[in-house]
Subunit: 667 residues, 2 copies
Amino acid sequence: MKKMTFVIGLLCLGMTLSAQPGIISTRPANNQDGKILTMEETILSRELSPANLSARWADSDEILMHKDGKWQYWNIATGEYSDYKAVPAKKLHAISKNQSLYLIDKEGNEKVIAKSTCSNITYGDIVSRNEFGISGGIFWSPDSTKVAFYRKDETKVTSFPLLDITTRTGSLKEIKYPMAGMDSENVQLGIYDIATGETVYAKADDFGYDTYLTNITWSPDAKKLYIIVLDRSQKHLKLNEYCPETGNCLNTILTEDNDKYVEPVDPLYFIKGFNNIFLYRTANIDGYRNLYLCDNSGNIRRLTAVDADVQYVANDGKYIYYTSAEVSPVENHLFRIEIKNLKKGVVKASFGKPQRLTFEEGWHDVQLSPDCKHFIDSYSSLSVPRVINLCKTDGKKVSNLLTAEDPTLDYAYTEISLGTIKSADGQYDNYYRLIKPKDFDPSKKYPVIVYVYGGPHSQMVQNTYLGLLRRWEMYMAQRGYLVYVQDNRGTENRGLAFEQAIHGQCGQAEMADQIEGVKMLMDLPYVDKDRIGVHGWSYGGFMTISLITNYPEIFKVAVAGGPVIDWKWYEVMYGERYMDNPATNPEGYAKTSLINKAKDLKGKLLICQGAIDPVVVWEHSLSFIRECIKNNVQVDYFPYPCAEHNVMGKDRVHLHDKISMYFEDYL
Amino acid sequence: MKKMTFVIGLLCLGMTLSAQPGIISTRPANNQDGKILTMEETILSRELSPANLSARWADSDEILMHKDGKWQYWNIATGEYSDYKAVPAKKLHAISKNQSLYLIDKEGNEKVIAKSTCSNITYGDIVSRNEFGISGGIFWSPDSTKVAFYRKDETKVTSFPLLDITTRTGSLKEIKYPMAGMDSENVQLGIYDIATGETVYAKADDFGYDTYLTNITWSPDAKKLYIIVLDRSQKHLKLNEYCPETGNCLNTILTEDNDKYVEPVDPLYFIKGFNNIFLYRTANIDGYRNLYLCDNSGNIRRLTAVDADVQYVANDGKYIYYTSAEVSPVENHLFRIEIKNLKKGVVKASFGKPQRLTFEEGWHDVQLSPDCKHFIDSYSSLSVPRVINLCKTDGKKVSNLLTAEDPTLDYAYTEISLGTIKSADGQYDNYYRLIKPKDFDPSKKYPVIVYVYGGPHSQMVQNTYLGLLRRWEMYMAQRGYLVYVQDNRGTENRGLAFEQAIHGQCGQAEMADQIEGVKMLMDLPYVDKDRIGVHGWSYGGFMTISLITNYPEIFKVAVAGGPVIDWKWYEVMYGERYMDNPATNPEGYAKTSLINKAKDLKGKLLICQGAIDPVVVWEHSLSFIRECIKNNVQVDYFPYPCAEHNVMGKDRVHLHDKISMYFEDYL
């Protein structure tokens, strides 16, 4: 075992971003007297969506397309269409139901392979509340001889009661909800052998009862199983190799440590043709999420050497394809790097120069064909609604599948622009989007609504069609508001130091950055600085209440949805990563708790909440208003009785009407 | 057994009320520039309370007085004061705790006499959710040799979950809540014999599993026990006599039947010196709650022969003392009737003429001395803040204990008046109270707030100090609002036909009557008929939403608190009395359900709710807003997270601020 330890501390790495000075683009100023969005259109209608086409690879010659309401295969060589045919069922598949794990054959016969005997134990389902890149609980070996699966034991996790009002007498739905600092889940990984019917468990409790088991990966030959094991504090991880027959740990390939957190979200990406060489992605070595070429002996070499976050896409054994933020954090482009002499091993292999494969300004979503000879390039930018091309990986465009028209041409014009503003610490350019009111007149004064999210793993501003605008922003702009959206420190795609700037004090750096943007707005001649509102949901709800209570002199009206109020009520996995444990970071929890800020609320605040929210439980917002009541501070509230964390469907029309009317009434 | 059956149908008895034409009284128009009430004063302060004295009989010679913060005895013969001394503890007392029944002696030694072995069974506590006059679950025999107690079995009753947010992780409090039409409690009456340590149960399941056992009364010699047993439909009752040694039923003394409901709320009032002669109160014989002289053989004679409701007060074996609404429904006066020759039995006894003992206009609260020679007469009226006199029952005043000054003299003047308005069916005069705005100018137009309760067993308008005004009404009047409060059919003190007019269709007759009042207001020159609001809590919350959804053209703004939304979610005992069973009265339930009315909401409606309300459970209001959301109807909401049915203490200041601001913002 080769041990490698990388610690990135509080050091802020000065980034050289391709910062965009001021406004970078706008749509053409067309139809001033055009249509006005209805609330239904902002939520329910798809007619403002520019791309009436979806396409994905069926195999290296055929693309499965959904066009004009119909699925068809399109042969990229012949250009011919053929009818969609259902993919034949696999011989065996595995499902998790009623907390147990079943094998089901083609005829539908079920066989239980891990039976839950207790309501606290679940087999084959997701664990760790979808954190660490976890999106499923069943992992077939590539040769289909074994099934690995999660076992989750929630015996020690406290329950939180939710009220279901849809039953005759009202009834209780209890969910298991591990809160920061409290007892958590126990996770194990079982490996079931189809031939023998036996299950072994990976010996993976390296960090005790609440070790996280993440990013389960089989080697291509199915002879090894890899698990990234992580301790409860999320400051230490090991990449371990296991024997699927015995569950024994064969090797710890590498370790990572960080005094804030490590956050493994990627499986191992094996190089085609190798069972022991793979790509590993981490931000913890060079400060950006880059790709590293590794082998199972622990040899490791940096492949993508850029001060920008990259995403693995595919490889054909010769080229590694990835997208990267290196052109601009608000753009996404495809690159490839050739690897030579890999048969001589990781250390002796040589790497070619990175080769850029997409060139048009904007955000490119790419899909490589299985043989990596072609890719579907779907992109948009502030001035390009949507283009979908079929391209060769040698750089040539084969054909254009879609060039969408701007579907907002008939609607009353509202100018949208992107720009940058310095972060509060002066180290970064933060990107913003601004939409101006219909019939904008720079000699008038307009109210502003800041829409905020601001939490980790988010990016609200990209150089895409309408700049990731939410239709509600256009709705409000058409009714006379400036709407401003800005990313801040802590968000995605900007490297580790930018992301970790919030550690231990969620909301503080984020607020400081948002306030920079708001001050810039307040200096604009056409901004009515006495009429500034703020709105956000979830982390953005937390930000919204943080902003109106910390800056009562700036914000007149706020609408917060599903807000975190105190991180001690949020979940273990996400919460402790960013806030540590309440026992080890009491100052951070106290400083960021909005319970302590309720008394400082001066403006009008409406809180909305899904009443059966299992993500940000009702405890948060009810506790905040309880504190307001204690301090005789007025606050408004609206629960959506049958909504979970996000208010969806028709309820969402009602919600956005409510939000809009609140700003109309009070801003 | 002598069986007597009285059925009062839909017949409306034409009442000859001493109706008050128009305004009957006002306070003197004093201090126009006086103090303005703060919200805290409306809720927390006692300084607007007129009587800084409370007095109750210690024995026939002494009154225990609380005056100037001190308890003292006052000898009515000598006029001397003596210090308060604690009453010596009883030899034995019984308490219900942890659902079991205990005897506790003077030394504090406990002995369990009925032990609950299951969370669904409770001994010695109230049953039937406090309906039918039930206020306790332990009934000592007069000779202290036996303890009768309730046993309540809630096994079949569904639970309703309440969320307690005051615990670290949020926790569940489940309450048993029997909903209309669903399985209910089983109630039994145990009789424990101190000497033998044995318990027998009264054989009282006359109407099966959910027979109600009400108004438990021991005979003075402790040899008999009386129970009024009532069927689930509440249309049939029996007054039964039991043997406390065996639990056997000895006799059914009388029965009552009514095709709407019978509602026994009084125990038997035994005549001093007799173990078998008592007063029985019912409205079911003559249409008003009158007193009847009965014996345990079933002989019965009407004692109080007035078309008005009376209340039993006391008797000394010779005189029966009672209060009555016969002078006016908004006044309460003491009367007595002499009974002669009672030793010859109920049939042969002769009754004197009723003799009125209180004469000053207003509402008299009276306390008779144990020997019935004196009474404390505490009264007020619209023009008398509070007078407390000591009087002789022969009619002479002995001394004045208190003549309170009007504590509102320093406050800005707002005129308060009482009056009457015809009920919608033209049969009755309904009483109202109106407070006019500060600096009232009849040439101006003022907005109106209708404050409404309207439910059974309520009387919101009486000829008392400020006319039962809630201080919040004065608060709003000082801020420019007319506030109107009116009793309607269904309320108390007006006889059975008036009360039962609402049966099976709660809210319908009440609304019709309230609308008569509102129409009268709309015809007043100083009323701005485009600015009419309504506010009420509980039954009044139900009325409020009923009014704004049934009369959207009249009401612009409404605030409803803890509202019943559909009677199917309300409790069995109260709900089925007024609405029958959902299975037998589906039309009535459908017609009165506000779920069906949500789509008709046009004005602004704020609903407030105690989030742990065990009386009108959260199901009601959450279901209503769910229906509003479904219909994309805007509605506002505010929960009080730690409040039960009524929002009390400091929370109430916050609540009343919220209510007031809602009217200020939108009316």
